[in-house]
Point group: C5
Chain length 370, copies 5
């Protein structure tokens, strides 16, 4: 990646600045321009270096990649985690340090990647999406792109945000006897993958907690708010599918892979993650079908309600409209209306009123409306 390139295109780039936060950010830029694309998270990038073997575990927080050189050791696994992608130079210098292909550096910085796996001569590059249920906003899922570079004895991870996704791994590392401390960098990469995928189940549980009561209530009390919830869940399922389902292929590729970076015994564990992904995608498909069924129920239920409303209107109107007509007849002012003079005219008219309405009530009773 030649950084001399930048000045030349600056002007061109400026023109496109307005849309630089969207998926099309790099459109119009020559391929090979390193630039961070995606939502900008304010915090400064943080670099944590963890080195361990079966016997020891050391954690450093460093400020620049230059320090990383001094930390080179043999016989230990080094895990470098970068939180935040604002500082392009960190990615660039790690690229130079470890001889990473420029396309990979571009992909790390562009956070609209599809989960994927790329095998290079000396390293392996994975992109995967961390997801989190946003408790504050109404049914919303947040995504975070996590890039994993797996080398012999090295794992480098890049995260968009500085959150606590990796905390369980740090806990786990403290245990001297754990497999993690005894196995290689491929096992560390597995633990990272597994930790991210575990978050998917948490999100699914959150969805379950929303979908289950919705399913119970939608038939008997369909409201506009439920429709809104359905729409939101559906939107999230669509984006989750997009972000999760490519993982199936990613892991299938690892399982078929004969890359020497993966030891035979570790592949079993990747197989376990693969099973988890299958379960998650199965669930997503189930949710999709259930949401679609709920839409059908909603429509049928709304149709039912309309039917009932119309029945009430029809009963009221059909009974009173004829009666009103009869009353109207005897409200006419014709001079010669013999009935008006009859002694029993008025009581008789009440008999007619009552007979008519009872007759109509029977008619609606027979139609099972009341």
């Amino acid at each position: 990646m030649n950084s001399k390139l930048q000045p030349i295109y600056r002007s061109y780039q400026q023109a496109n600045k307005a849309v630089l936060n969207s998926a099309a950010d790099k459109s119009g830029l020559p391929p090979g321009t390193l630039i961070h694309i995606g939502e900008k998270h304010e915090s400064k990038s943080k670099i944590s270096v963890t080195q361990y073997n079966a016997d020891a575990l050391i954690t450093h927080e460093i400020d620049s990649i230059a320090e990383l050189k001094h930390l080179k050791k043999t016989g230990v696994i080094t895990w470098v985690n970068v939180d935040g992608l604002n500082d392009i130079h960190i990615v660039e210098s790690i690229g130079q340090e470890l001889n990473i292909h420029p396309l990979v550096l571009e992909d790390i910085l562009s956070t609209h990647q599809r989960p994927k796996l790329e095998e290079y001569e000396s390293f392996l590059y994975m992109v995967i999406k961390g997801i989190e249920f946003d408790q504050e906003r109404n049914i919303s899922v947040d995504y975070e792109q996590i890039s994993i570079l797996l080398l012999v004895d090295y794992v480098i991870t890049f995260k968009e945000k500085s959150d606590n996704t990796f905390d369980p791994i740090y806990y786990y590392l403290q245990n001297n006897n754990s497999r993690l401390r005894q196995f290689g960098s491929d096992y560390l990469a597995y633990v990272i993958l597994d930790t991210i995928v575990d978050e998917y189940f948490v999100v699914e549980d959150n969805l379950d907690e929303i979908i289950d009561p919705l399913e119970e209530n939608i038939l008997f009390n369909p409201t506009k708010e439920m429709l809104q919830s359905l729409q939101r869940i559906r939107r999230n399922l669509i984006s989750m599918k997009r972000n999760i389902s490519p993982l199936r292929e990613l892991l299938a590729t690892i399982l078929r892979s004969d890359n020497p970076l993966f030891q035979e015994k570790t592949l079993r564990y990747y197989g376990d993650v693969y099973d988890h992904i299958l379960r998650v995608t199965d669930s997503l498909e189930s949710y999709r079908e259930r949401i679609s069924a709920m839409h059908d129920i909603y429509l049928s239920s709304a149709s039912n309600k309309l039917n009932e409303t119309m029945k009430i209107l029809t009963i009221f109107a059909s009974i009173f409209i004829p009666l009103t007509f009869i009353a109207g007849v005897y409200g006419m002012n014709f001079e010669y209306m013999p009935e008006l003079k009859w002694r029993w005219g008025y009581p008789m008219i009440w008999v007619i009123f009552i007979t008519t309405s009872v007759g109509l009530l029977f008619f609606f009773k027979k139609k099972k409306w009341i």
Copy 2:
């Protein structure tokens, strides 16, 4: 599996306890922590050991796995069945005894598994879902995870609940001349699979008994309760599909397998189970299509009913509203209304009433509404 691991994570685990019954239970726990995930069934775990060959059949009920060692014999098939997964130590000690991979032990205890088959060096691990139609609740299917470990001369099964799913197998075992008594452990595993799959047909029959009358009635008497039944069946079909369809692949893998645990002649029988699974999944697909068709019918039928309600209202309103108007006209109190003084005014107005209403009735007759 190192059990020293537990204390260290206890606190971390405690924090997550609230959600420990859900699919995400292990999220936040390091991989390799043995813990029972899923609905807890109250009863104590029960271990039954059945040993047989062509000549003899012995059944023991033991309390701990330690006793199992004393039961080791050659020339017999040993079937260990564990009912209930509350007691983690049983699984752990069986794991140590038979040298089972820790991931398998985890999977046995986590009852949210997808049906799957895993081949290990010395054994084969299958997960399969037993299903049962819940007669008490309204259209509901219960699932039970059944794990099968197949070794040379050994079959270990783990069931979530202590029910009578395996009773037919115990009956069958009593017959000295049966194939079961003469064939190997692979045939026992087949009989177990076959028995579980047979339950699927029972559930389908139960569904048939609900769907068939529903299909007959939905066109002519669509009610809200039918809509509810449709919704429940649909939900169950979705979950059944999730729990059953992976079996297709599982059995296809067995049929293609050249694992020495399977004898050539037994594979024919597995082929038979495969056919059954195909039939079950075909049925599920048919049910799905029928339910979807019933939804369409429901909507069309509701739409029909609305049409009819509206026709009645329209007929009543369109006939009596003009008549009421006419009556209203002659109820006006203008001083100079010559018609009111006419000798035949009143009878004439009745002629107008009758002509108008008959005319409108003809109009609706022509429109085929009445």
Copy 3:
């Protein structure tokens, strides 16, 4: 198949008797129990034996399989057809005579099989569904399971019912010069398959005769009866698909097969049946799409009709309700209502009536309602 097995399970079996006609009949029975599962057809089983070569053709009707032994000859093709599956012993003795695998015997008797092909060492087993349009019931298709055993010089067929499906074959056999008389048992099996598949086209023609007029009428005169027809056709299409589509794979397997039972030159003919099956399944798919389109049309058409009903109501109500109000005003009994005393009050009110109604009629005209 050990028939000693029966007594032991009798009691167990009895308990399950209530559901013995359903798909789950064998659930709870040990695998390997010979029992006829499916609708029982009353008639006694009938065994017809046809023996032929290029020169001769003999047909026997025999009572027991024992007689079959005396009929063994070389140089002839023997076709044994069994109509009716009530007599388990016939199947059992044929099994013993020709050394048929017990699983095949079970499948022959259980008439809920999926069409399939199984290759055994010395024979080949096919299950296929004969279908027939039930002229008496309203849009209903009957199924019959037909099992075909193909051996060298032998074809055994088992039919559920005693009907005239195979009559064209008997006709055809009478022709000395026909290919059927000159080719082997594989060609006979082809002719049987072809005859069964030809029946599918007859059923399709019957469906065509129902669907075509339905398609014409549903747009302009949608009735509840059409909805019912749609529902019935859809149900039958679902079951036909289930019973026919597996044949595609069955025949593809035959075409790829290098089983010595099939001669090279006969495979061409099986290819022809394969084409027929493709045509049938294409048609089924087309029907499905057409029925689904008709449902859409039905809903749209019902929606149209409702719109028209409501327009009539709205026109009537909107015109006469204001008029009635005006009439009501001048029916009030206030002492000081100057209009009532005007000489031209009454004619003027008629001018208002007519103007208002003409105005509203124009309004509805402009809206293109009338």
Copy 4:
């Protein structure tokens, strides 16, 4: 094909005559009976023979296949085109002359074939459907089965009808320098295929001309006639898909084929036809999706219209019904109704009328109905 066979089955055949025009025509006939199945086109069959090489081009119209023998020449490509399938003997004698498999002859005569390709030892058989937009009937597509036999130096085509589908080929042949005149019979077969497939684009243009304006209008002026057009287009798309999509596989098979009948350089041209077919099937799929979208729009639009109708009714009824009630109150004849005697009673009542109606108009204004 043994023609002695016919007399024997005549009677049987007669019985089935009633349905002999349908897809099931051959059902009940022994396989191998040559009979023309499908719509009968009145015209006599016409045989055209075209012989050409780079230097010469001769066209004959012959009456019987016998004449064909005299036309045998080396160094020329002979193209025999048969228009009309009424005369079975033509097909039969061509079959004898060129040694064509009887199944192929049957397929040529039965015009309900699925497009397909069959490779025989010395020739290649293709069935393909010519289609034409029927300008006279309302949105209807006509199909014609065209059979192509490709041999070394020979191409035989059979068309159901005598139309001008092949005219462009005759034009093209007149050009001495054209590839057609210089290449072999495989190139002629390609030109025939290409000419037929080009007709598909014409039909698509005809559909485009109907669908595009429909799409524009359906949202704002949905009529019953549009619904009918939608239904017709959909029906035609279903049948076009059935008749065209198998061509994809047909051409893929040719492209993969190593049949010596195809020269390497000609295959490029078949690849071009393959691209065209892909384009046609893509278009059909697009049309299908657009029609389906238009149905959704239709329903939504009808729903909108109903909403508007109901709003008008509700506004009218809700405003005038209360007013009529008030007028009714003061039309009552109670002796003691003080308001009636008030000097300003009548004007006050108008104030009430106007206030009420203005209030309700505001209410509906606020609801954005008016």
Copy 5:
């Protein structure tokens, strides 16, 4: 391609002229006739020649292909870009110059191609669609066919229109140190592909800007205009899918290809374009699902609105119709109506009015309508 061919068919061609702008333009023309099919863009064709290597960069604008010969040089990459396809001779002469297969020349001129890749002996032909969001028309996407011929040291591109799609490439070329200047013609072809694909993201962003607010508003304020937007987006998604999804296969073919035109190190970059295409097609699928969900919401929401309208009507009508009837009763003119004479008759009737309406209001309150 023999241009002598033209005069002969002129007359035939003339007859078909009317439809020459449509997809079926070539139907009826012999294969091998060079003719520009598709929308005609007015501007004259423009030929730009760019020659570069690591050291130098020269750009010419030439008038005829003849000039191209003089520009032949070794050691440089030559990129010829032709804007506009009106001038058939340009294509024809490039074809002769570089020995391009006539079918390719036809395809370049016919702008209804499906994106595809064809490998020839000495060159490689790609068709790809450039797309652009039409800012002026209402939700509309414009397509432009771009043909790419890749040879050793040569890239020829043909564009339908003269727009600024390739501007970023010209910028990029000016940078001496860029990979583009150092790599071969395969990298130039990659940059062209990448530039075109980048435009897809811009179109997607444009769609996002329309879909996102639509999704927010459709539930609460469904209007007819939204329905129109939905329909337009859907139509564009259908055409985008048609024009983009074949690229997936195209790039997969390149990635699997062992064509010597592609260097190993360049294939990585094509892999990057492949990822982009996957992202675009994923997005299109997501949009499709979202649009479909929005249609469901629209229908449900319209159904809700109807329900509410009907409730208002029913409340008004059901309350006032009975009251009007009562008022009508006491407006009758019977001589003997005792109530009319009662001192408290009139106040009592108001009590009845108020009680009735309050009762009905309670009834509707209980039904949760108000």
